[in-house]
């Protein structure tokens, strides 16, 4: 286990997340990809905190914050998704071009 292994893992996760975000046309799928990217960042935080000398808890604090913020974000995003679904009967981003209608 070295820092590099963790970073590669995080990099792959992040790449998968970006790919998903761009590729997916379903809002929920995009949301999941976002989660992946955020978790890749979390892995990074923790890995750096663990492998570098200094305060090893700071990484965990960061990731805890990120997780908390993500949870709030998810709640709001899901609310928007639900209301959009009610309005449009679809969650395809291609069809949701105009925010005003």
């Amino acid at each position: 286990m070295t820092l590099l292994n963790c970073l590669i893992l995080a990099f792959l996760l992040f790449g998968i997340g970006v790919w998903g975000l761009i590729q997916r046309r379903h809002l929920v799928g995009m949301l999941i990809s976002m989660e992946l990217m955020l978790n890749a960042a979390n892995i990074n935080f923790i890995a750096f905190a663990y492998f570098t000398p200094g305060d090893s808890t700071s990484g965990s604090i960061f990731s805890a914050f990120v997780i908390a913020v993500t949870a709030c974000e998810m709640a709001i995003a899901l609310a928007i998704i639900v209301s959009m679904y009610r309005r449009h009967k679809s969650l395809d981003v291609e069809q949701l071009r105009d925010l005003h209608d």
């Binding site: 970006v18 975000l21 761009i22 590729q23 997916r24 046309r25 981003v93 291609e94 949701l96 071009r97």
Partner: protein
Amino acid sequence: MTNISISYLIFLMPLLTFLINGLFLGKRSAKGAAALAIILNGVAFASALALAVGYFTSGTAPQKVIAFEVPFLKFAESFVANIGLLVDPLSIMMLVVVTFIAFMVNIYSVGYMRGDRAEGRFFALLSLFSFSMLGLVAATNLFQMFIFWELVGVSSYLLIGFWYHKPSAVSASKQAFILTRFADSFFLLGIVLVSYVVQTFDFGNLNGITLGMFANQTINLGIMEVSKATALTIGAVLIFTGGWGKSAMFPMHIWLPNAMEGPTPVSSIIHSATMVVAGVYLVARLFPFFAVCGNTLTLIMWVGAFTMVFAAVIACTQKDIKRILAYSTLSQLGYMMFALGTCKIGDVVITTGWTASTFHIFTHAFFKCSLFLIAGSLIHQVHTNDLDAMGGLRKKMPITYVCALISILAISGIPPFSGFFSKDEIILAAFQGQHYVVFVLALLTSGLTTFYMFRLFFLAFHGKPRCHAVAEGHVHEDFAMTLPIAILAVPVLFSGIATKGLFENFFVPGKIRVPQLMLVPEAHWIPFVAIGAAVIALLIAWFLYASPKANVERALDDVNRGGIYKTIYHKFYFDEMYYCVVRQFLIGGIARAARFIQDYIVEGVVAFAVWFVHRLGALVRAAQGGHLTFYLGTLIVGVILWRFIGHLPF
């Protein structure tokens, strides 16, 4: 000189007439407009007369007096263009003549324009015309002269094209305007050049120039370094070009006969006192300046002399009476011009021609105005300009007949009528200036003048009536038209005798001294030769057109003629030449090339710029598609690029 203080009335009255008629009265009441025009122009004439009397009796003559002067444009501290009123014998003479002629023409127009649909507009424009000419005449400097010069141009355009529903009138007015403007552009160039060299517009300073002032000085014209004397000579020629066009000298003469399309009172005032005289007046006003500038006077002389002969020859064949008179004006203007040009022998300037020329302006104004008014009277009765339809008018229009005879005798130079004295002096001036070729030409033209004027006279008034209106006796004399003709007969008769000798006394500019040895002693045989030529020409005209043997049908036939007659009858095809040059060369060549450049090159550059912006817009628009995924993709790509290309700190 108390009269100086009221001199502004001379300008104010025509201007007021123009404003009141043009803005309020013209549309409401034609009678009111006419009455106002006559009264106010009468006041202007009276004040001009009062000014003249005061000036000549108070002993100030022939000094220059500036009645008033206000700065108009300040180019620099010492370089100001003023608007003012210059009083000296020359301008006084012109002021009186212009106001008098304008007064007469206004009275005449009441009869002539009766029932026209735009009488009010006519009176307004007529006053604008006389106002601009008065401003030109009284100018104290070149700049003011140019302003009013242009005003004269525009008012003549408006008046020649007065009947704008006639295409011929419209094209004639456009032609007159464009041709004179073409000449005026050179005039302006000349003003710029001369004022750049001399640093003044003022006539007094310009006429005070001697070449010694600029000895060995050069001036930078931007393209080359020339001596000041050369620059002044170029400027003088350019300034003369303005007069060249305005006075309709050859080859810029074609607008004048074509301007006959306007109402006759307009032709009358254009040909006698305004517009065409402006060119001669310009040369007369700047005469000492021209005399200093190289061989400008020689050019003026030849242009004038050629126009004189050329126009007289054409006038002998024309059938339209107004055109005959127009060519006669051209010929007389040629006389005035060349007289101004004859005054130089070597480096010595004599003033005979100068005084003779101004004298001729003076007398010519009266008889030419009278002739045009008479022509208008005839046209009004016969309803055509053509000599074909006239003849036998003598018994129907006796007063007009007598006045026509007086005027025609005057223009022919038969004593004791006015034209004799002035024309005689001009011929004498040519002789004294030792220009013998021009002298002979002037004598010949004098004979020609008599010939064509009497041809007109006999064909119009004598013989059998050639149209129904005359034969059946519908023709009568209109009081409003006959009155000014009758009044004008007085100066036509007496202006020569009464003022003979005055001009020499008043107009000799102080700075030009003539050594007595230079002058040829006055040749006493010249007047007799001139009268002889006139009488012979009169007899020929009588024999051809009025004697029992005369063949009038042959005289009026313009179809079965030889080549020379046809060429002259068609005015040497100058109209066609102009048409050809304008059509083929200007419109077909230069204008088309310019249009090609405009269409393909200029428009192309503009169109490319438009297309470029348009494409750029399309690119940006494509990025604003609303695809969320596209936004995110570009964001990420951007961040990555930022990382590798930009200067992030990590």
